[in-house]
């Protein structure tokens, strides 16, 4: 096959994809790019507002709790756990795609199950965090946390936090649903009949993107 020739001048001459990927995967990349702009717009709006505001709450004072921890002061602890859960679930997703290359149905199913568990664990963590913050009086339009220097804060802090982590959480949720659909199709043997596991790869791209966005959300809200 001549497909090992990739970036020669001939790649635009027609007859095959100049991107050397299947149509659906290319479209997934373009979708993720547009989604990156959506998240980017949110995060830039957040940054702009933060730069335009006198003072801002200290994330280490706001995000300092973990389940069953009572009122202990433990900044960054819970969110680090969430971050690692998402990284690990990303790894299991790569392994699922890898097993798909080897046409190993059982392997794909195993790693997809682990990925789904990771996604659900992350969502549970986020649900707990939202519930906890809500019980402290934080919600859209309500911010009980003073600025780092003790001055009056604006509700922009909570508005952006809940909007952006909520939008990300919704992506995680849809990622879990997509992965469950993939798992069902794997177990039914759909991809074995089709002869390839490209669909799992596309779901994997989406899942990694969710992890990628969390890298940015984690840094922008909890660390910086």
């Amino acid at each position: 096959m001549s497909t090992t020739v990739t970036t020669t001048t001939g790649s635009w001459k027609g007859g095959r994809s100049p991107f050397n990927v299947e149509y659906g995967k290319l479209m997934m990349w373009y979708f993720l790019m547009s989604d990156a702009f959506t998240f980017g717009a949110f995060l830039i709006a957040y940054g702009t507002t933060r730069f335009a505001t006198n003072g801002w709450p200290n994330p280490n004072e706001v995000f300092r709790s973990y389940p069953l921890g009572g009122s202990t002061h433990a900044p960054l602890v819970f969110v680090s756990i969430m971050t690692f859960i998402l990284i690990i679930s990303s790894v299991t997703m790569v392994l699922a795609v890898h097993e798909g290359h080897n046409m190993n149905r059982k392997g794909v199913a195993k790693y997809l199950v682990l990925t789904i568990i990771g996604g659900l664990a992350f969502l549970s963590c986020q649900a707990w965090e939202w519930t906890h913050l809500h019980s402290e009086g934080a919600w859209w339009g309500s911010n009980p946390f003073p600025n780092a220097d003790g001055t009056i804060s604006t509700t922009n802090f909570t508005n952006f936090f809940f909007t952006i982590t909520g939008f990300h959480g919704f992506h995680v949720f849809s990622g879990v649903v997509i992965n469950i659909i993939m798992l069902i199709m794997v177990l039914k043997g759909t991809f074995d009949r089709r002869g390839h596991y490209l669909m799992v790869e596309k779901a994997g791209l989406y899942w990694h993107f969710v992890d990628l966005v969390w890298v940015f959300v984690f840094t922008c809200f909890y660390l910086v």
Binding site: F19, E22, L26, I44, F51, F84, S90, S135, G150, S153
Partner: protein
């Protein structure tokens, strides 16, 4: 022949396989741990100190490094053809302009508002009133 199976054929022979997956996993974990260590180290610094801004800059660079590893290896982009890499990455450079333009704009908005609306600046220096439990409840 449709290019679905062709590209599958081509993709199977690129990338480092499982070894590469574990290598990237370790790199991502280490970068995250370094980020967290930096986060802890700057906790007690005054919020406007130069050292704190420097650490924040380092954290953002580490964040971008993590993004490169996730997109490049987990999403496999590094092993795709150049055409695809370019079509995905080049538009993202718009963010360079977005970030510079919008953050500068936000900053100048703050400075102008503090300069021309003294009342705004005075108000933002008032301490936050202590909230009792009843105000925590949301209607």
């Amino acid at each position: 022949m449709d290019h679905t199976l062709e590209s599958l054929e081509a993709e199977q022979h690129v990338g480092g396989g499982k070894k590469e997956i574990w290598r990237v996993t370790i790199i991502l974990s280490v970068l995250t741990l370094v980020e967290l260590a930096l986060g802890f180290s700057m906790m007690d610094m005054p919020s406007d100190s130069l050292a704190k801004h420097f650490i924040k800059g380092v954290i953002i660079i580490l964040m971008l490094a993590k993004a490169v590893y996730i997109v490049g290896f987990f999403m496999h982009l590094k092993h795709e053809v150049r055409n695809l890499i370019m079509t995905v990455c080049v538009p993202l450079f718009l963010f360079v302009w977005f970030i510079i333009a919008f953050l500068t704009d936000g900053n100048s908005f703050k400075n102008d508002k503090n300069k021309w609306d003294r009342n705004h600046e005075e108000r933002s220096k008032e301490p936050m009133p202590k909230q009792d439990e009843s105000t925590h409840k949301l209607e």
